[in-house]
Amino acid sequence: MSESYEPKIVAFTCNWCAYAGADLAGVSRMQYPPNVRLIRLMCTGRINHAFLLNAFLSGMDGVMVSG
């Protein structure tokens, strides 16, 4: 693996907590790496395991569920 390797991570975030936190980070002009792609869910209860596997199938290197 080369040193310039940058993983692509998808984050499934809850509307009421993790997504709100990411939003607050945004309005506070905090910087965070662009490796993470957020997908907002109304609740992480919406997750089923096919989401996680399909993220890997679509080329993601990591999956984060936050909420």
Binding site: N48, H49, A50, L53, N54, F56, L57
Partner: protein, 373 residues
Amino acid sequence: MVITQEQIDYCMECGVCTGSCPISRMMSNFSPRQMIKRTLMDRDETVLHCHELWSCLTCARCSVRCPAAIDFPEFVRQHREGARKEGNLPQLAHHGTLQAIAALQARNIKQRRTEWAVDAGRFASSGDIFFFIGCAPYFEVVLKPGVGSGEVPRSVLKLLNRMGIEPVISNDERCCGHDALWSGDEEMFRRLNRWNLEVIRGSGAKTVLFSCPEGYTVFKQHMPKVFGELPFEVLHVTEFLARELPGAGITFKPYQENGSGGVTYQDPCRLGRQAGIFDPPRELIGLVPEIPFVEMPRNRENSACCGTTAWMECSSCSKALQLERLQEAQDAGAGTIITACPKCRIHLTCAEQNTEYSLHITDIYAFLLKQME
């Protein structure tokens, strides 16, 4: 597959397929003969867009009876290739998780496929006998608890160990592509099995054992068509055990019925009608002394499918077929149903949950292991 004009003519005057089809009895708009007519007589291209194409269980109950020797499941399989290209896709069970797991295995990934085996028994990394585990350990993780699919490979490994055999098992084994093939995705089937061939060749195995009838028929019937003759012997575990177990010096405890009723055997479609293996599982069950074995009215070639295939189109129709089968077993006086397919075990167990049936559903390997002295 080529269907001749003569076959079509015979087909149009018959209808044994539709009369035999378990789906046709539940869904009046599903007719194998009409589908042949629409496709080959009427040249109706909308067949590729119709949803009935995905309703077929490919259980082969029609094709074993067809007097014109039309292989309807193969006809369906080929048209599913076309339907997929047209964007006509099936409704996947379990949110498509099992299809995603199969697709991930077509890549160069690191699996922990044999983790369960460390506690279950002894195995080797090279040798004459390769035990192809199949996807049952993955099913155990994905499906609701209690369906017991993980018990299948664990029992086989323990049985083989008791016979003094330490088979090769591999983390690099892939899905056999059965479901992809029957869902009209032959390319996925080829990609997965290129890996499998490499892994089996690398182990130096001369015999490959399958506990799952789906993997078995894929290697026995479909792989040679694509990859040519395979450089190893392909055996189902029931075939292997029926041949080796009687001389292995293993004795069985007499069956303790204790009011639990008789024991019956569910013929899996792939193992029975497709591969013609009816006797070895019955011989193995017969090794147990005092076994109260009963046959269900629909057995062997006439056996009933467990209701779904390839993790798709699980519907009220599937449930009806499954409950009908449980009722049939109960009416035959059975308290235990033994199958030789992890999916039959899963589907019948799933159907039984939340019903009044209290049949014990198990597989032949777990059953034999339990009866060993």
